[in-house]
């Protein structure tokens, strides 16, 4: 979007004004997230920058909120729970979702639109409604307040993401490759593991990452379904924010931001690998 040489002064100033506006919007997007990180090292129990922090006085900074977090049994239990539930949900939703995407991407799939509608529905229905429905139903069948119940509920929420990402990968999939493998004598299983799987793997992994983060970040279902033994990190944060907001929350938040940066980077790498493998030139 370089400025054309024939641009007049008005156009020229608009060009710079536009960039400034865009920069401001990016600040709006990023600043609230980044601001948390320095604040989590505040030595005082406040949510703003103290004078000591602004003058970079080392005494203004401390790790006390991280220590609080580390020494709290309920936060530690919530980490364990979050991982148990998110990993369980990811395994279920990735395996079921990938299979379904393989089926959906075949041209022979009957009732495709209707089935797609059903499979996508957990993503569309407002969480509060899903949570309410699951609360009644899972209570009836004795699954409320169990790990299994929450894992299954989160798996249901995660599958649409897996289906969408894997279907998208498969849409660029060159089916002549599997036919070539078959004509060279590979049986369908070998073809799948030697040809199809490596090619769609980036899609599967990014679907799995979506499913993982969906569960890892989910709180409404947990609010309704979880007992005290299944409290997750977002659930702890929820009560922390709602009751008395302490800077420990900011320490947890900073750690979660680090996790999301990691996830984002791995997704970006996957995307690049995927494009390279499929020979798509970046436009």
């Amino acid at each position: 979007m370089a400025l054309p040489t024939y641009a007049g002064p008005l156009e020229r100033s608009w060009y710079y004004a536009f960039r400034i506006i865009c920069a401001a919007i990016f600040v709006f997007l990023i600043a609230p997230i980044l601001i948390i990180i320095p604040l989590s090292f505040n030595a005082e129990p406040y949510f703003t920058f103290t004078r000591a922090m602004l003058t970079f006085d080392p005494d203004g900074y401390s790790l006390r909120w991280y220590e609080d977090f580390w020494n709290s049994t309920s936060w530690m239990a919530s980490i364990r729970n979050s991982f148990i539930i998110a990993i369980g949900a990811t395994i279920v939703s990735t395996s079921l979702g990938t299979l379904a995407a393989l089926g959906l991407s075949r041209s022979h799939m009957p009732f495709r639109a209707a089935i797609m509608g059903v499979l996508i529905s957990p993503m569309i229905v407002p969480l509060i409604i899903s949570a309410a429905g699951m609360f009644f139903f899972y209570s009836k069948i004795n699954m409320a307040q169990t790990y299994l119940g929450i894992i299954l509920a989160h798996a249901a929420l995660g599958t649409p993401f897996v289906v969408i990402t894997v279907t998208a990968t498969l849409s660029g999939f060159d089916h002549s490759l599997t036919r070539a493998a078959a004509s060279l004598g590979a049986d369908p299983t070998t073809t799948f593991f030697k040809v199809t799987m490596p090619l769609i793997l980036p899609g599967v992994i990014s679907g799995a990452l979506f499913a993982f983060i969906t569960s890892f970040d989910e709180v409404v279902i947990v609010l309704f379904l979880a007992g005290v033994e299944q409290r997750t990190i977002p659930r702890e944060m929820w009560s922390g924010i709602r009751e008395s907001i302490s800077p420990t929350i900011l320490a947890v938040a900073s750690i979660l931001i680090a996790i999301s940066v990691l996830l984002l980077l791995s997704l970006e790498l996957l995307r690049r690998r995927n494009e390279r493998l499929r020979g798509i030139v970046e436009s």
Binding site: I30, T48, F49, L96, S107, S130, L264
Partner: protein, 426 residues
């Protein structure tokens, strides 16, 4: 798709009856292969389909049914429910009905029955809970004629309105919850009327939820359009870098982002401090930006902005720059070229992003609950309230069903206009 393949096989057979190596007509063999493929495709999808049906669709359907289910009176006052059918609604019912009630009460005392019926009827008429309890405790000592003795003990039994409520609710299904969800009620004659003005909540709340969602959608468009445009017109390397700035908030925990906004906006928060520091406002003039509607709007706009930017960006990337150049060379000034040539080509992206953001916002719960105060509450917050606090599960289900219907309608439109297959993530 299926049609196309069938047409293809037809073409093959009509060109002559081919025979496969096994001696079978090719048409039969192909049809079998076709069927097998369909079955394989179908069987691949079936596990997930069943899984979603059981863990998701059935629970939601079950909840939706709660909005019309009305088992209490029929189950716990069976004789009364039966006897009161004959009543014409004039004056008080006959002694038969009173006798049936007393019998039901005698049987129900000491079981949860009376508590459940009382709680149910109390939604329709305040005071029915304790009226039922008192009658239940007295039931054993009551002597016929029950009509006189009951009315004498508790004047509520002498009001025709009490009996109309019982008669109305003595069928296994009811519309009462939906009527309540629309700020309507039954008057003494049994007509559906609006509730008193100072008692109306939900219609207004639905309207507010829609308005807030519209404002948030408009704001995300306003903020999303320029940066999507900027990214679409940068070389890939810079665009990717900027994309990460959009995706980072997208991947950051919702609760983290919500707590950031509390930290930013509260009275002793970063923004107010900053404004006091530079002298924009006095220390006693700190602005209220959170725990009200402003808080909900700002935080939700931030949270939903990536959902607008991503579809806009993917559409903008496909618009050839030559169109704008052509318009300019034909004499359009920059603004005209942009407005008349560029913007119309982005409508698909605007539509996709707009509907997506709108659908997500009307069902939002967490952020309004944490930063919305009173004026920033949305319909979801009241569904949660009736689920957890007031325990009027029927009303919660009715409100939820209305919201669900709105979302499904929007989703249907979205699918018609854009197609769910084109939904892209990341």
């Amino acid at each position: 798709m299926a049609q196309a393949t069938i047409a293809q096989t037809d073409a093959v057979t009509s060109s002559g009856s081919m025979i496969t190596a096994s001696g079978e007509p090719l048409k039969v063999s192909l049809a079998r292969a076709e069927r097998r493929k369909r079955l394989t495709a179908f069987f691949l999808v079936v596990p997930l389909l069943i899984f979603i049906l059981i863990t998701f669709i059935i629970p939601i359907g079950d909840m939706a049914l709660n909005s019309v289910r009305n088992p209490e009176v029929v189950t716990y006052l069976p004789r009364t429910a039966d006897a009161i059918q004959e009543w014409d609604g004039q004056g008080l019912p006959d002694e038969v009905v009173f006798e049936a009630l007393v019998e039901d009460l005698r049987e129900g005392m000491g079981t949860p029955a009376i508590g459940r019926v009382g709680a149910r009827l109390n939604y329709e008429k305040s005071g029915m809970r304790s009226t039922m309890q008192r009658a239940g405790r007295a039931a054993r000592q009551l002597e016929p004629p029950y009509r006189e003795t009951l009315v004498e003990r508790d004047a509520t039994w002498g009001e025709p309105g009490t009996w109309r409520v019982i008669q109305r609710e003595s069928s296994p299904f009811t519309l009462s919850y939906f009527i309540a969800a629309l700020d309507r009620t039954y008057d003494d004659e049994g007509n559906i009327v609006q509730v008193r003005e100072d008692q109306r909540i939900y219609v207004q709340l639905f309207i507010r939820t829609f308005m807030l969602s519209l404002v948030i959608t408009a704001l995300t468009l306003l903020l999303g359009f320029p940066i999507a445009y900027l990214m679409a017109h940068q070389p890939a390397r810079i665009a990717n870098l900027l994309m990460i700035l959009v995706l980072l908030p997208f991947w950051t925990s919702l609760l983290v982002r919500t707590s950031s906004w509390i930290v930013m906006l509260q009275q002793q928060g970063v923004l107010n401090d900053l404004m006091v520091l530079v002298g924009l406002i006095g220390d006693d003039g700190r602005l209220l930006m959170v725990y009200n509607q402003t808080g909900t709007i700002v935080a939700m706009t931030h949270i939903l902005l990536p959902f607008m930017v991503l579809p806009l960006y993917s559409v903008m990337k496909t618009i050839p720059p030559s169109y704008m150049r052509a318009a300019r060379s034909l004499g359009a000034n920059q603004w005209t070229a942009f407005w008349r040539i560029y913007v119309p080509q982005t409508t698909a992206g605007i539509g996709a992003g707009g509907v997506l953001v709108f659908i997500i916002s009307i069902g939002y719960y967490i952020t309004p609950a944490l930063v919305g105060g009173q004026s920033g509450q949305m319909i979801s917050n009241f569904i949660a309230f009736h689920m957890q606090r007031s325990l009027n599960w029927g009303l919660a289900a009715a409100l939820g069903t209305i919201l669900l219907a709105a979302v499904i309608l929007l989703y249907y439109l979205y699918n018609r206009i854009i197609g769910v297959d084109r939904l892209k993530l990341g």
